[in-house]
Subunit: 173 residues, 2 copies
């Protein structure tokens, strides 16, 4: 069922591009970029079909990972702030981090909330920091640039390594 | 050493904001937004200090995670494409995925390159797909929107859960 819908979706753009642009039936399509639900549905069909993500999109899956990463970063930020002017709270935080895994950020904050009233304040601060960090400090454009560059560079490197290996093997033979 | 530089950095903006705007010594600062290395260095100081990321920035760390995620997604895309029109290659790909972990995308592609010439073609295709996917299909703006919303929603939910728990406990007492 899933693959059949995928096929229909992926075939659509080719049907669309096969329509000559002079076709008079399509003269009502806006030439300028415009928010049109019909148009945007057709444009989405140009994308590759990504299966097996259930109800969540790949973007949502990546956002969950980033969400936990922001909690981890917020703990680091708060720890660095406390280290200099509140060593007791810093020790308390580090002890808690040692006992509780940080891979699930929300679970970590929820347990911290219930540890003691001092921990509750720490948890509130971590939550505040992760919110401020992801909204203001985190460089989203930089993330995109770095990730795209990483894929391009890795592809080049992998191919270069393979070619140099095989040409070496050929030379030895 | 690291924490002392952090302190200096985090204190700078407050020193800066304490300077009255009428101070004549600062009249040479441009009023308009301008690419000025001195100014941008000062603006960066408004950010929270994130320690312990070594030479890589948090953005670079997040990009590494996304890089592996893109390889994982590319494998899913290629598998879905092969399933319908090339069942043999699909089985070969799935067998390889079963034997090799996908947590390190580059390592996965490198081993696939060296498995056989058919696997090499599959690896090339996966690399091509991950490059196209991250550049064209992946919705970066959507990722930001989702991640920011997730942090805000989680913070609200965690606080609501805690308040409802404590108020219930108080009512029972």
């Amino acid at each position: 069922m899933e693959s059949s819908s995928a096929l229909t979706l992926s075939q659509l753009p080719y049907v669309y591009s096969a329509i000559p642009s002079t076709n008079k039936n399509y003269h009502f399509w806006p030439a300028r970029k415009q928010r049109n639900s019909q148009l945007s549905t057709r444009l989405q069909c140009n994308k590759m079909f990504v299966p097996g993500f259930g109800e969540a999109s790949p973007e949502a899956k990546a956002a969950i990972n980033l969400h936990n990463f922001f909690t981890y970063t917020a703990v680091k930020i708060v720890a660095a702030q406390l280290e200099s002017y509140n060593p007791e709270a810093y020790i308390e935080l580090m002890e808690f981090v040692g006992k509780h895994p940080l891979d699930d950020g929300d679970k970590f904050c929820a347990s911290m909330f219930r540890e003691s009233s001092r921990h509750k304040n720490l948890a509130l601060r971590i939550m505040e920091v992760r919110s401020a960090y992801c909204q203001k400090d985190f460089e989203w454009d930089n993330l995109k640039t770095l990730a795209v560059k990483m894929v391009t560079d890795s592809n080049t490197r992998l191919m270069r390594e393979y070619v140099s290996e095989t040409s070496r093997a050929e030379n030895e033979n």
